[in-house]
């Protein structure tokens, strides 16, 4: 596996190698497996401590499935998820038994997309935010209340709110509550799956600022899963672009936005509507649709929609290769043509 170098001497916090997750398609009474949906099909990336890696792509590209595999919310089909624990050991999360995984769960936490369905409406904030503490052995209620008060202050909410229920709060406030719960166990790696896409513009900016502030204060490492490129650009150090279960490009944010080395990344960027009426253009709109991961095209998965495709792209699947320092692309024609 040609895992990208991080450019730093320290070993990465997370090293994902050849991650695969296939979902079987079954048919008939005997549940005979007729095909596999290759939701995640050989994904490699690393995340260094304190870094934010953005995982970008459209619906069905496998970004959420990949992040759920890392959390072991679902079990990967293949590959390794090598994680460096707080005490310096390296473990393969993909191979651990549920019991062996449990002590590590406190170190890897998640922020969810929808702040309306991710909090239990029958539990007060104290119980919602305090539950991970209870699960991790903090049995004393007063001790828990103190920690919850501290967490609420940390995310910019008043500690008095802890006896209220989620319905009393707005979308932005609920997302803050969700962040407080994710931080309850002092995690090192936080997986944030579309944490601001359900929020209004003015509130989205508040939550993005909070995430940036918390990261520098608590030395957090983020895996930031999102589809909004302007948000991802704002918050991430490096960006990984996925298409039909594969990584197609992985590079530092400035490099990928300055000079994308995969035609799909370039098309994604052009598709973002520019908030300036003086910059109107319909050039380079990507035609066609995302192929099904159950029946991907031959060769390069992107070739049917690519305006630079050649015979080679139809036949031979490109490998992920380093086109510039720390800049990986899965394209035969990168370097020959500008996208």
């Amino acid at each position: 596996m040609n895992a990208p170098s991080t450019g730093t001497a320290a070993p990465p916090l997370l090293d994902v190698r050849g991650l695969q997750k296939y979902f079987p398609i079954t048919r008939g009474l005997r549940q005979r497996v007729v095909a596999q949906v290759r939701a995640v099909d050989g994904v490699d990336f690393t995340i260094s401590e304190g870094e934010t890696l953005g995982l970008v792509g459209e619906s069905g590209c496998g970004k959420t499935t990949a992040s759920r595999c890392i959390l072991r919310a679902i079990d990967p089909t293949g590959g390794a998820i090598v994680y460096r624990t707080r005490d310096g050991r390296t473990v393969d999360l993909a191979a651990l038994s549920p019991a062996a995984l449990r002590p590590l769960r406190a170190e890897i936490q998640m922020i969810f997309q929808d702040p309306f369905s991710s909090l239990n409406p029958r539990m007060t904030l104290l119980d919602n935010v305090g539950e991970p503490l209870l699960v991790n052995g903090m049995k004393n209620r007063r001790e828990r209340a103190e920690r919850v008060a501290e967490l609420l202050r940390l995310v910019g909410l008043r500690p008095e709110f802890m006896h209220r229920f989620p319905h009393a709060f707005s979308g932005g406030q609920r997302q803050r509550i969700g962040i407080a719960r994710a931080l309850a166990t002092s995690p090192r790696l936080v997986v944030a799956d579309e944490p601001v896409s359900a929020l209004d513009v003015s509130v989205q900016a508040q939550v993005l600022n909070l995430l940036l502030e918390l990261q520098s204060r608590l030395k957090l490492t983020f895996l930031f899963v999102a589809h909004d490129l302007s948000v991802v650009r704002h918050i991430c150090d490096r960006i990984a672009v996925m298409y039909v279960g594969q990584l197609v490009e992985l590079a530092p944010t400035d490099a990928i936005f300055g000079r994308p080395q995969h035609p799909y990344t370039a098309a994604l960027m052009r598709a973002v509507p520019v908030p300036d009426p003086r910059v109107r253009s319909s050039d380079g709109i990507l035609g066609g649709e995302v192929p099904s991961p159950a029946a991907p095209p031959s060769g390069c998965y992107f070739h049917p929609r690519c305006r630079h495709a050649q015979e080679r792209c139809r036949v031979e699947a490109p490998a992920l290769r380093e086109i510039a320092p720390d800049h990986m692309t899965r394209c035969h024609r990168a370097g020959e043509v500008a996208f």
Binding site: E58, S59, S170, G171, G172, Q173, D200, V201, S202, V203, Q204, A205, Q206, L208, N209, L212, E213, H227, D228, L229, S230, V231, R233, H234, I235, D237, T253, D254, F257, A267, L268, M269, R270, A271, V272, P273, V274, P275, D276, P277, R278, V279, R280, S282, I285, L286, G287, E289, V290
Partner: protein, 343 residues
């Protein structure tokens, strides 16, 4: 030019057990024939309720309490006031779908899953069939089917003869939204209301659908009210923009003025708070302080004053009216009122 649609001081409220929610609280704007009007605002600003009022689709306990919605019909010299029409009456049913059509946000929820998409478009064409026929002859079903195939081709659906017999759940999100657009166009409306038509679809598909709408607008010269919370989409689509907040129009003007010379503090704050593909990264974004007030708990005076950086004493006391601030630009803010008005 006389406006096609003219909304004046529209008020819609919902009488709930907990209290009265004034979802739309004195909204006024015009739509000119062939214009693309962008309506932008955050959740709860009343943009969708305003559009439902225009179609007389407000459901109980909601009610249009006052104001006018004057619409110039195809064959009438005088405008009708939609706000006075009975929602289920023959005239409203003729306007709805026939002259004002809606593209909803979520086409999956808007299409019936037990009828083919083609049948649903054919049904609409047969219902408003006289728009395709001279002399009022009833359309035959086969004719309506041919029209539907043509519409599907117009909106860029490949293999329209086959796709017409598909169910909505067999189509991808982009195709489903194209079929919805075909249905909205099926009766040659003079006004198309697009309520967040691309919010539920992916960014590359969104670009395709926006290009399609722009192309169709140029071809048929249909007026469009384009509702969205996405300032990028507004900038790309609209020629004139209405900015709403808590049921009131904060500012309206030509798209270039709204983006390059905004006059209302809310518009300015909204534009500053979006991350762009070109700005500085990993720095704090300017934010609008505070949160949207609870609907039962509207602030007195200007609805934006508790969050406004330029708020003055009078902002809490009186509601500013929409006043001209430039040639075609209006803002409802006391900063732009020349002399004190009687409260």
């Amino acid at each position: 030019m006389t406006p096609l649609l003219s909304v004046r001081d529209l008020r819609v409220s919902f009488a709930l057990d907990e209290g009265l929610v004034r979802a739309v609280d004195g909204t006024s704007f015009d739509v000119m024939p062939g214009q693309v009007l962008g309506v932008v605002g955050e959740s709860g600003c009343g943009k969708s309720v305003t559009m439902r009022a225009i179609l007389q689709l407000i459901e109980r306990p909601g009610r249009i309490t006052s104001g006018e919605i004057r619409f110039r019909r195809r064959d009438g010299d005088n405008a009708v006031d939609i706000a006075r029409l009975p929602p289920r009456g023959p005239e409203m049913r003729d306007i709805r779908g026939g002259e004002i059509a809606l593209i909803p946000q979520e086409p999956m929820a808007a299409f019936s899953p037990v009828h083919t998409v083609g049948d649903q478009v054919i049904e609409a064409i047969l219902l408003h069939g006289h728009r395709w026929q001279e002399g009022g002859r009833r359309l035959r079903r086969a004719e309506a089917r041919d029209i539907t195939v043509g519409l599907f081709r117009d909106v860029g659906i490949s293999m329209p003869e086959q796709r017409i017999d598909a169910f909505s759940w067999q189509l991808s999100g982009g195709l489903r939204q194209r079929a919805m657009i075909a249905m909205a166009l099926s009766c040659k409306p003079r006004l198309l209301i697009a309520d967040e038509p691309t919010t539920a679809i992916d960014v590359t598909t969104q670009a395709q659908v926006l290009a399609l709408l722009r192309d169709l607008q140029a071809r048929y010269n249909t007026a469009i009210i384009f509702i969205t919370h996405d300032l990028g989409v507004i900038a790309q689509m609209a020629s004139y923009v209405v900015v709403m907040y808590l049921g009131r129009v904060m500012e309206q003007g030509p798209v270039d003025d709204i983006f390059h010379n905004p006059r209302h503090p809310y518009t300015k704050a909204l534009l500053r708070s979006i991350p762009s593909l070109h700005g500085a990264t990993r720095v704090a974004l300017p934010v609008i302080s505070g949160a949207l007030p609870h609907p039962f708990n509207r602030p007195p005076g200007c609805p934006f004053h508790p969050r406004c950086p330029d708020a003055m004493a009078r902002c809490a006391a009186a509601i500013p009216s929409l006043q001209p601030v430039a040639a075609h630009q209006l803002a409802s803010c006391f900063l732009h009122h020349d002399q004190a008005e009687p409260a």
